[in-house]
């Protein structure tokens, strides 16, 4: 093959002849390409020379077509012919279009590419019969799937690294967007809730009114809750042997008197009152206990 003098600026497609790849056709029970690609290296074990191979798989009617190729070797060859890796759009393998090769394709002056029983093979042109018709490679032969080569020495990062990094950045970007919108949404939801509440309670629209109502009711709430808590605490002091004989609750203090059956009951009552931080006094000449406290 002579050197290529002109490559279109938009790039060119390459169809590789069998010298550049090794094929294997296998009927294996896998459904997807990525599964087939995963087992491809094991299929070529012991068949290939020492090199770093890449694999291409394609589904065929009866099974899978596996192709192993040495990207570096192909690039080197193409560079020698004046085609830089970054000028290549897609790379295809002649095997992929074997059914279209109905006649030999002449490769330079000595060799020809022929379809031998369904497998693409390079043969010397002398092996062709003299009157055999030949065909030209055209865009009609372009298979649906191909491989892309990375530019050599131009890119600082390999495709794999680039895609991995891009995926990580995208993932974080999505997380940040979701979090951001959640914060924004919360704020808006709270503002909307305030609006709804103010519509339901128009008298609370002024902050002055709100403050004055809050102060008024908070004072009442605190005082009245204290009274009720005190009554609840005193109710726990009524048990077997202890009877409430009087209770007086005012605005600032309270006083209760309990009749106790004996000294033990009086002691227990005193302990309970102490727990509630109430003041206790013993009524003279009896077991009765007087409990007092402030509100």
């Amino acid at each position: 093959m002579s050197s290529v003098t002109h490559v279109p600026p938009e790039g060119t497609n390459i169809m590789l002849t069998p010298q550049f790849y090794t094929i294997k056709r296998e009927s294996i029970p896998v459904k997807y390409s990525y599964q087939a690609k995963r087992i491809a290296p094991s299929l070529f074990e012991g068949l290939l020379e020492e090199a770093e191979y890449k694999y291409f798989v394609s589904k065929e009617e009866d099974g899978w077509l596996f192709i192993a190729y040495d990207e570096e070797k192909i690039k080197t060859f193409l560079e020698q012919k004046g085609i830089m890796p970054e000028q290549i759009s897609k790379v295809y393998f002649a095997e992929q279009a074997s059914e279209h090769f109905t006649a030999p394709v002449l490769l330079g002056e000595k060799e020809a590419l022929v379809n031998l029983n369904g497998t693409m093979t390079v043969v010397p042109q002398v092996a062709l019969t003299l009157d055999e018709k030949t065909m030209q490679v055209s865009t009609e032969l372009t298979p649906k799937k191909g491989v892309t080569f990375e530019g050599r020495g131009e890119s600082f990062i390999s495709s794999n690294e680039a895609y991995t990094l891009a995926a990580i950045f995208m993932l974080f970007a999505v997380i940040y967007f979701v979090e951001g919108s959640r914060y924004g949404g919360e704020n808006a939801a709270e503002a909307a809730e305030i609006q709804t509440l103010l519509e339901d309670y128009p008298s609370l629209q002024s902050s002055y009114t709100r403050e004055s109502i809050a102060t008024k009711y908070k004072t009442i709430d605190k005082k009245e809750r204290k009274k009720r808590d005190m009554i609840k605490a005193l109710s726990h002091m009524i048990f077997k042997g202890s009877t409430l004989t009087s209770l007086s609750i005012g605005n600032k203090k309270f006083q209760a008197e309990f009749a106790c059956k004996d000294a033990n009951v009086a002691k227990k009552l005193k302990e309970l009152a102490k727990k509630e931080k109430f003041n206790t006094t013993k009524v003279a000449n009896s077991n009765d206990i007087k409990i007092e406290g402030t509100l």
């Binding site: 600082f156 990094l165 997380i175 940040y176 914060y183 509440l197 809050a214 009711y217 009554i231 005012g250």
Partner: protein, 134 residues
């Protein structure tokens, strides 16, 4: 076009990194909004809810009706009732410990300001005097 293709990987990374930065700043703006005006909004909402709930309890418009029900839990013969507008003076006489218990529970559950509550035992029964307002 060829130049773009040559640096395709860098372009992919650059664009996604740019997107990441935009997303990050978007989040920061939202978070700072949340932490300043957002915090104020949250506080206002909490305060408003508190005022509303206090108002519902202590400014209940149906409280007069609820207070009136207090009269009916004991036989009329045991109740002396005097209500003027939003002030009540009531006395309950000769009530059993069970009735006292019931009465106290009712009083405690009423959102009224208890000005005076006197309970006195005489024999086996109790006398209760209640002064409250709302």
């Amino acid at each position: 076009m060829r130049e773009l293709k040559r640096y395709k990987n860098e372009l992919i990374i650059g664009l996604t990194l740019l997107l990441l930065l935009i997303a990050f700043f978007y989040k920061q703006v939202q978070v700072s909004g949340e932490s300043s005006s957002g915090k104020d909004t949250a506080t206002s909402l909490q305060e408003l809810k508190e005022v509303i709930s206090l108002k519902k309890i202590w400014g209940d418009k149906k409280i007069t009706k609820k207070v009136e029900k207090l009269k009916t839990i004991l036989p009329p013969s045991k109740v002396q009732w005097s209500r003027k507008s939003k002030k009540l003076t009531a006395s309950f006489k000769n009530i059993t410990p069970q009735e006292l218990n019931k009465l106290m529970v009712k009083i405690m559950n009423l959102a009224v300001e208890i000005e005076k509550l006197d309970v006195k035992k005489s024999g086996t029964s109790y006398q209760v005097e209640l002064k409250c307002k709302w």
